[in-house]
């Protein structure tokens, strides 16, 4: 290849991708410096959706923060609720009734299904597949959202879990409906894979792109499917066995190269594992109360102390760090957002790739700006 003349060599083009760009998944901005179409520098810029969620939560009661957690990662409100109530339960030492634990697993895995389906759809949308995979994913997601609506009253902002349980019991026929959705989801996955997994263009676009080496992934705190696609076996459902995850048989899929295709495939395989968990949970769920009646939801005042609770949210490790000073509101309330931390190595993944790859690498990291900026 002939090197360009020296006066052309520094002709770099700086593009501000975002905050209003079709595929930055929200109001996220990347200042990208391009040499031709190759990325030589990438600086993420945050804060366009910052609303200081933590400060708001420090002024509200423990109960009143639950609806705000819905709005962190607005695609998976159920798991956000779960991470928060888990931390409060740790902080205040509350026990959860068995049925409520099962319900949590069910809604958590349903959330994982719909998040991963959406993500795969969005990723392919970023690759330019004109919405077809996204529409199929949304078609299935609608069914899960319908379940959430009939359970909690709201499709996305569920506000459903409570410390020591869930807000209300399952409506009649909900379990059968959920089982039906889970069964249908399996055939949807087959369909989705037939549409795209073998597709030559998808493979050409995603293989070898945005490789994340396992060492860097661990050091940079990448969690969730992005980490497991790099081959690191770390699933908090297995490590912490929070809730009742030790009762279910499921496997943790691992990628081997850590590129975009692995991140896509790991999510697909994880959905299949989630379906297995759902199948077990929906059959095993016992009868009983869903909320400990002795626990005061309103006016909860945990003893002074602190707790860090975390769960495997669909995007990675979602943690809540709470310090109580004995008052009705947490003294310190901190969200450990998986989306933000997973973005740490975005530049490393993108360098040397083209601008078209930046979009799909960002898509495969799976961020939601409500959580990144909080």
């Amino acid at each position: 290849m002939i090197a360009p003349p020296p006066e052309l060599q520094n002709d770099l083009l700086e593009i501000a991708m975002g905050p209003h760009h079709p595929s930055t998944h929200g109001v996220f901005r990347m200042n990208v410096v391009l040499d031709g179409e190759t990325v030589v520098k990438l600086t993420p810029v945050f804060g366009y959706l910052h609303r200081n969620h933590e400060k708001i939560a420090e002024k509200n009661s423990y109960l009143a923060s639950i609806p705000y957690t819905d709005r962190l990662d607005y695609i998976c409100s159920m798991t956000n609720n779960w991470a928060y109530v888990l931390s409060v339960e740790k902080l205040a030492g509350l026990a959860v009734p068995e049925r409520a634990e099962y319900i949590r697993v069910i809604v958590g895995e349903l959330t994982r299904l719909q998040n991963h389906a959406c993500l795969a759809g969005f990723l392919l949308q970023d690759m330019g597949a004109l919405g077809t995979p996204l529409m199929y994913a949304f078609r299935e997601r609608e069914k899960i959202l319908d379940l959430f609506e009939s359970l909690s009253g709201s499709r996305m902002m569920c506000n459903y879990l409570r410390f020591s349980g869930c807000r209300c019991d399952l409506p009649d026929g909900w379990l059968e409906q959920a089982l039906e959705v889970a069964t249908g989801f399996d055939s949807f996955l087959d369909q989705f894979e037939a549409l795209l997994t073998e597709n030559e263009i998808l493979r050409a676009r995603s293989e070898g792109v945005g490789v994340l080496p396992p060492g860097l992934a661990v050091n940079a705190g990448v969690t969730g499917p992005g980490l497991r696609a790099s081959g690191v076996n770390y699933d908090i459902r297995k490590v912490d066995q929070y809730g009742i995850y030790n009762r279910f048989k499921f496997r943790v899929p691992l990628g081997e190269r850590g590129d975009v295709f692995d991140r896509y495939m790991v999510r697909i395989l994880e959905m299949r594992e989630s379906l297995k968990i759902l199948d077990q949970a929906l059959h095993d769920i016992p009868a009983g109360p869903v909320l400990d009646p002795k626990v005061r939801l309103r006016n909860l005042r945990p003893k002074p102390g602190e707790a860090y609770g975390r769960i495997e949210s669909p995007k990675g490790e979602l943690g809540f760090y709470l310090i109580s000073d004995g008052g009705p509101a947490p003294y310190r309330y901190r969200v450990r957002p998986p989306s933000l931390v997973n973005l740490t190595v975005l530049e490393e993944m993108c360098l040397g790739h083209t601008i078209a790859d930046v979009v799909i690498i960002l898509g495969s990291v799976d961020i939601v700006l409500g959580e990144v900026d909080r």
């Binding site: 083009l13 593009i15 760009h21 079709p22 595929s23 391009l34 179409e37 392919l124 949308q125 970023d126 690759m127 330019g128 597949a129 004109l130 919405g131 077809t132 529409m135 199929y136 078609r139 549409l195 795209l196 597709n199 263009i201 998808l202 493979r203 050409a204 676009r205 293989e207 070898g208 076996n233 699933d235 297995k238 496997r251 943790v252 899929p253 691992l254 990628g255 081997e256 190269r257 295709f261 692995d262 495939m265 790991v266 395989l269 083209t354 601008i355 078209a356 790859d357 979009v359």
Partner: protein, 391 residues
Amino acid sequence: MNALDSIFISALHWLAGLAPAPVRPLVSMLLIIAGLMAAFGTCFALATILERKTLGRMQNRFGPNRVGPFGLFQPLADGIKMLIKEDIVPFSADKTLHFLAPLALTAPVWMAFAVLPFGRNMSAIELDAGILFFFAIGSASELAVFMAGWSSQNKYSLVGAMRAIAQMISYEVPLVLAAVPVLMAAGSLSLPDIVQAQSGVALGWVPRWNIFTPWGLAGFALFFIAATAESNRCPFDLPEGESELIAGYLTEYSGFKYALFFLGEYLGLFAVAGLAVTLFLGGWQAPARWLEWFPSWGWFAAKFSALIFLFIWVRATLPRLRLDQLLNFAWKFLVPLALINLFAAAVWWKLPAAMAIRWLLCAGLLAVPYVWLGRHWNGVTPKRRHYGYAQ
């Protein structure tokens, strides 16, 4: 020739006959132009709505169905909306070029329709080198696209325009090369002659269309792929790849200028689809003799619509390639294959007809390089991956 078949020609003669004799050729020409513009203008309107509805159906939606019966007046509403939208010209844009670009895109595309035979004796001008004229006109759109990208003074527009230039120049080559075997077969550059050369049937029932030969099938596939790229459609819509470049060279266009670009792109698509019908699908010929009661222009329209549907179908399914892969694909896959196809076509014509061996030989000549090039054009051979599980 029945009356229905020649209805447009008779109508033209009748209308032109109303004019005084000295201006009759001029009037006749103007009538043809008006007819073409009306027909393909309507076609554009219909194609937008049908594309949206088909895409919708493929995505399990309904598509536009609110304006008029079945949403058929949607293009009208869109047109009105486009007309009354504010026409924004960026402050630092090169205003003249910015204004001229949509015109420069749309005007030449109309000229391409002049040489297409839409039915028996139905081409506006019968140029002896019609196909050359067509390709010459077709490549004029590159200039317009670059004008649009450059004059907008927008980085996304510029990147989009650069991509468009690289892509369109690369794909001209396989587009033309894929058409050459047909010219060899017909022995003429005139499009009506090419259609005529595809008349009749082989083996008693297979029409002698070029697509029913190995080199014709390969040529059609190559032509189709190159045409998709030429008309900037998915999966080759990189110049305006919305997930990467917002709208590429169209980023700074709004209102009617944007609509003109849209029109130009669709007309380009129609022209190239019309050419594909002419070159490979037997033009306006009916597939069998007993089907000739259906007018020739009707057959053209049917094949044309099927091809447009194929374009839409592909668009609904595939993700987009990356620029380097796109160029690799053109130069390392399409161009070599098109050259081999040329050779295969030559072999075909040298071997005696009605021999099964010429079928096998030709198909083998194409299949082996296809497999080899298909594995290697991208530089990497993807392996089947296995995913382990941690227990």
